[in-house]
Amino acid sequence: MTKEKKELKSLVVQGTVYQTNLTWKFENRVKWETPNPNYIYSFIPGTVIDIFVKPKEKVKEGETLLLLEAMKMQNQVRMPFDGQIVKIHIKKDQVIPKKYLMLEIKPLKLK
C-alpha cells in the first residue's frame, strides 16, 4: 500500500457504510449480469473455423452452429434450443477473445 494520502472511498457491508481504500482487484471485478439466453458468447478465445448457419435460418436444438478452434481443439458450438438465427457477429477465420458475442438467436417453435 502506498503511503500517500488517498481519498477514502465507501464500502457497504451489511448496511453499514465504511470509509476505506479499495484494491485494484476489487475495483476491477467483473460486474454480474444475468445471462441472456438469446446471445451466444465464446466460452474460450479462439479462431472461427467454419459457420454452418445463415441469418433467419431455423435451427433445431443440438445442431452445430459453428466451429471454434481453441487449444488445438475444434469445439462445436451447438443450438441450445429450437429457434432461429437473428444475427451473426463473426466471420470465418476471425480470431475472437473470450466472451465475444458470436450469434444472436431467438426461440421458435419448429414443426
Binding site: 451489511q14 448496511g15 481504500n21 484494491t23 482487484k25 476489487f26 478465445p45 479462439g46
Partner: protein, 526 residues
Amino acid sequence: MKKGILNLKSNFMSLRSNVLDLRKRKREVQKGGGDKAIEKQAKMGKLTARERILALLDKNSFHEYDLFVEHSAKDFGMESKILHGDGVIIGTGTIYNKPICIFAQDFTVAGGSLGMMHARKITKIMDHALKMRVPLIGINDSGGARIQEGVNSLAGYGEIFFRNTLASGVIPQISVILGPCAGGAVYSPALTDFVFVVENISKMFITGPSVIKSVLGEEITMEELGGARVHAELTGNAHFFSTSELECFEQIKKLISYIPRNNGTKALPFPPKPPKKGKKIEDIVPGDPRIPYDVRDIIKSVTDSSEFFEIMESFAPNIVIGFGRMEGDTVGFVANQPMVLAGVLDTDSSDKAGRFIRYCDAFNIPIVTLEDLPGYLPGVDQEHAGVIRHGAKILYAYSEATVPKVTVILRKAYGGGYIAMNSRHLRADFVFAWPTAEIAVMGPEGAANIVFRKEISEAENPEEVRQEKIQEYKKKFANPYVAAAQGYIDEVIEPKETRGRILHAMKVSENKSIALPRKKHGIPPF
C-alpha cells in the same frame, strides 16, 4: 634404499602437480558458461549464480559440492558439449552464523536448463537439508526443462517437487526467483514456504506469452503476465518484492533471523527491547468503527523496537501478516486492516492468512491476532470465486493450530468474521477486548433494519425511528460486555495494557500442550 628416497621425492612432486591440476579444473568449471554468457547475464541486470550465493551467505562460509558433475545427455549432439556443473551450484554455508543449504541455477550454462544431473545435484542438497534439519534456499534462474534430455528432465522436476513436499513443515524452504521460472519449474517455488521476487528480473508463468498468443490470440508482455509485481500484488505467489537483488538478499537474511531452523526448535531469541515511544496506542484507533486507521501502527506499538516484518504486503492488503518480536521472541501477527476494504475477509485474504497461520503452527511461532472487521466481503464475484471454501481455510488453520494463540479485539467483530478470527470457539488461549470492541452478529445498522423491521416500516417517520433503533441496538449489543458475560472474552482491557497482556499470555502458554485425536493428516479445504 636410495631408490626409495627418490620415489618419495617424485611422489611429492606429483602430488603438487595434482593440486595444481585440481585448481585449474576448478577455475575452469567456476567460470560457468564463460565470459560471453556472464557478460550477457550482467547486461540483463543480473548477478551470476556464484555472485548471488556469495552475496547472500556469511563471508567465506560457502562450501560447494558436486562441482565436477557432468551432464548425461547423449542425443542431439549433446554428448560433445560440456556444461560446467551442469548449470547449477549446490553447497552449504551460514547466514548469521547459522547453517543453511543452498542451490543456485546458473543461467550462463545452457540457460540454466534442468537436465537429469542438474536435478540430481539439487535433490542431493535438498536431502542434506532435510537430514541435517537446516533451512533450504533455492535460487531459480532457468529456461526450464532441458528438452534434449526428454523425460529424464521431467523426472528431475518430479523428484524435486516430492522433496519439497516431504520437507514442508520440517525445515524452512525459501525460493528466490532471479530470472525466468516457467512451465513445470514454477511448482517447486509454489510448494515452498516463502517466494522472493525482484522487479524486472523475476518471471514466473505456466505458459509463456508466445504460446498464449499463438493458441488464444491474447497479446501480453512477460512482465505483465508473470513479472514480480504481478505475483506480489495479483496472484499471491510471491511473499516478498524488492527492486534489486541485493535488497532481496537483505530481506532473506531478515526473514532467516525471525524463523527457527527447523520444526523442532524455536527462533533464536534477540535481546528484549521496548517499543519505540510514538503515538499513544489509544490515539491510533478512531472510536467510530466506520473510520479507518493503519493496523500496522497497533502492531508496532506492541513489538520490540516497534519493528514489524510484513509478509505479502501488496497481496490482499485487507489482512496484514508478518513477524515481530516481543521480549526478544518471534511472534506471528495476523491483523485485519481497516485501511483496505474495511478489513473484510475475502477469498484472497483468507488464503493469505490461512497459510501463514499454518506456517507459524508448524514452526512453533505463537500467533497474535488483532481483530477489527465487518465480516466477509459481499458480492457475486466473491461467491462465485469460492469465498466459502477459501474462507473455510482460515477457520481450519486457526482451529488446527496448537501454538499459543492470543486474540485482541480492537473494535468490530461481527458475524462469521468474529468466529473466524481466532475466537474462543476455535480454541484461542486468551481473548482480550478493548472497551471499543463490538461483538455482535452484525453491525448496528444492519441488525436494526432486521430486528426492528416492523417498527421502522410502520412508523410515521421511518428514518427517525431507524436511527433511534440503531442507537438502541448499539447501546445494548455494540460492546464487549455481552460476550464477556458469557466468558467468550477473558478480559476487557485498556488499550495501553495490550503489550503487557500479550506478553503475560505468551509466558504462561510456554509449555502449552494439548492432546489431539490421532490422525494421519486432516483434509483442509484447499
